[in-house]
Symmetry: C2
Subunit: 329 residues, 2 copies
C-alpha cells in the first residue's frame, strides 16, 4: 500500500476496476486497518472478488532496496509479490519504491530462462499513438545481449497488449547511421538485425515522441535520463503556459475563453493514461505505478496488468526466448 | 556557408550583428559569388568590418567527417577554422555538419593541454533562467576524467559568458543518491568533488529544466539522447496544442482571442535564442549553429561567439586546467 498517497488512492482505484471489469478480482495487500477503513468509507461490496490480505510492514519510498528485500518479509510489497509466486494472484501492482519492487520481484519470482536482467518498460505518447520504451532505469551498463533481450520482451509486450503483429523495434542511438554510437549499441544493432524481430534500426531521441517505432530499446541509464528530461521539459512548458495566461486581467480572460481548448489539450497530454510500467523478464507479472499516481492513474496501471495477464504475455515472451536462444549463446 | 539554408541565412545574420555591435567584424567564408549576391541584395556597407573570403568547396550535411577533413582542404568550414588557427579570426561559427566541424576543428586547432576530448556545450531554458549542458554528442564512452574536464570547461564557460562567480556543476545520473548510476559516473562524482569546482552532486533528467545547477555534465551519448528526447516532446506538445486550437470554428476563435498570450508563450520557449553550441576544449573558439537556424537564431550564435572572445574564455579554461592538472594524473 505504498506510493505517495497510500490506500486513499490505491483502494478507490481497485474498486473502480472491479466496477469496470466484471471478470476481475483484487487482493488488497497492506495494513488491514487502513485498507478496511478505506473500504468502509467507500461502502464497497464485491463479494469474493475483493479480498484484503494483511501485511504488517511498509517499504519506505527512500528505503534501500536490499534492506527492504532482506529485512521486511511482511511488507505489503513482498506479500503481494509472494502472492504472484504462489499463483494466488496473477499480477502485482505497486506504487511504491521502484528499486525495492524490482529487487523483491527478482528475488522472489526469478527471471525467465534466457533473460539476464529484468527491464522496466513504460509507455509514452507519440504523434500517432504511443511507444514502449525500455529499459528505464533497472539496468545501467547494459551489454548488447541485454539490449537484444529488451527488444524481444518489448516486442512481445506490444504484440500482446496493443494487439499488433510484428511490432517495429528501434535502437536508441545518437544518429541514424550504422557507424554512430558506442560499441555496445553497434553490437546490439547486429544482434537485433539477426534476431528475427522487426528491427527498424537506429532511432534518435526525437524519434521516441515521433512514434517512429512501436518499441524503443536502450540502456537503463540512457532511458531514465531521456524519460526524466522529457518530463522536466513538459513541466517547464506547463509552467510557462500557465504564467502567460495568468499575467494580467486580459490574459486571464483570454485563458477563460480558451479554457475548453486548453482542457482538451491537457487531456491529450495527460500522462496519467500512460501510468503503469511493466517489470519485464520476470516469471510473473509485476507493474510499477508512479508514486504520485491518483486514483485514475492507478486504475490505468491495474487495467494494464489485467491486459498483460489476459493476453498471456509471459508465455509469449518465453516462447520467443526459446526460439531466439541460440543467438546469444 | 553550410546549414540547411546557406548564405541566405548566414549573410543577413552577420549583417545584423555588424549593425548591433559596432566593435565586431565578420569574415564571410564561402563561395564568393553566392556570398556577394547576398551582400548586393542587402546593400550592406560596413567597410573593412566585413570581408569575404572565397572557399571553393562545401562540406555536405551528411558527409562523413573524416572525408570532409581529409578531402576538402578548401571547404568553407576548413577555411573558417584555418582563419582561427592563423589568428585572422577570433572565432568560427558554422551551421554545417557537426561531426565534420568537430573533426576539422580538432585537427586544425588541437585540444588545450589537459583536455583529452573536446565537448559540445549547449544552452537550455529552465524555470529560472538557463543551464549549460555538455557533452551533447561529441564523445561516447566517456571516462570519469573526461566528465571532470567537461565540468571544468562548462564552469568556466558559464563564469565568462553569464558572468557568474563559481557556477554550480551537476553530474547527470539516474538518482540523486551517491550509490546510484554506473561506475564511470560514480568515479566522476569523486573527481568532481575533489576538483575545487562548485560541485552540486548528482542531478537527474528533470533537474536540467528545473535549473537545479548552472552546468550539467554527462557522457555525449546520454546528453544527445536527453536533448533530442526533450526536443521531440516539445514538438509533440506544439503539434497537440495547435491541433486543439484548429479543431473547429469555436476553438479557432478562442485561439484568435488567446493569440497574444500564445505568442508570448512561444517567445518564451523560443529555442532560437539558445542557438549556438560551443565546441569546448579546443585552442580556439568554434561554435556550431543549428543546421535549420534562421537569421535570428544564427545571429544569436554569432553574438555568443563574440561574448566568448571578449570575456577571454579560452584563457580562463587554460588557467583552470593548470590548477587542476595534478588531479587527473
Amino acid at each position: 500500500m505504498g506510493g505517495d498517497h497510500g490506500p486513499s488512492v490505491t483502494v478507490p482505484a481497485a474498486l473502480q476496476m472491479l466496477r469496470d471489469d466484471a471478470a476481475s478480482g483484487v487482493i488488497l495487500v497492506g495494513l488491514a486497518t487502513e485498507v478496511e477503513a478505506q473500504l468502509q468509507q467507500a461502502k464497497a461490496a464485491f463479494g469474493d472478488r475483493l479480498v484484503v490480505r494483511h501485511a504488517s510492514e511498509v517499504v519506505g519510498m527512500d528505503e534501500p532496496p536490499a534492506l527492504a528485500m532482506r529485512g521486511k518479509k511482511d511488507s505489503s510489497m513482498r506479500v503481494a509479490v509472494d502472492l504472484v509466486k504462489s499463483g494466488e494472484a496473477q499480477a502485482a501492482v505497486s506504487a511504491g519504491n521502484t528499486g525495492a519492487l524490482m529487487a523483491i520481484s527478482r528475488y522472489v519470482l526469478k527471471t525467465l530462462p534466457g533473460i539476464d536482467r529484468p527491464a522496466i518498460a513504460s509507455i509514452m505518447p507519440t504523434h500517432n499513438g504511443q511507444v514502449y520504451v525500455l529499459d528505464l532505469g533497472a539496468n545501467v551498463d547494459c551489454t548488447a545481449e541485454h539490449l537484444l533481450q529488451f527488444g524481444l520482451m518489448g516486442s512481445e509486450l506490444v504484440a500482446c497488449v496493443e494487439h499488433k503483429t510484428n511490432p517495429t523495434v528501434g535502437l536508441l542511438n545518437i544518429g541514424e547511421e550504422d557507424i554512430k554510437g558506442n560499441e555496445v549499441v553497434k553490437q546490439a544493432a547486429e544482434l537485433l538485425r539477426a534476431s528475427g524481430l522487426n528491427f527498424y534500426g537506429n532511432v534518435e531521441g526525437t524519434d521516441i515522441f515521433k512514434g517512429t517505432t512501436d518499441v524503443v530499446v536502450c540502456d537503463g541509464f540512457v532511458g531514465n535520463v531521456a524519460l526524466k528530461s522529457a518530463e522536466g521539459l513538459a513541466q517547464l512548458i506547463r509552467t510557462f503556459l500557465r504564467a502567460e495566461f495568468e499575467r494580467n486581467i486580459l490574459t486571464r480572460l483570454a485563458g477563460l475563453i480558451a479554457l475548453p481548448v486548453l482542457n482538451a489539450f491537457k487531456r491529450r497530454v495527460d500522462h496519467r493514461r500512460y501510468n503503469g510500467a511493466s517489470l519485464l523478464g520476470l516469471r510473473g507479472i509485476v507493474l510499477k505505478s508512479h508514486g504520485s499516481a491518483d486514483t485514475y492513474a492507478f486504475d490505468c496501471a491495474l487495467k494494464r496488468a489485467v491486459e498483460e495477464v489476459r493476453t498471456g504475455m509471459l508465455a509469449h515472451i518465453s516462447e520467443r526466448l526459446t526460439h531466439i536462444h541460440g543467438l546469444t549463446q
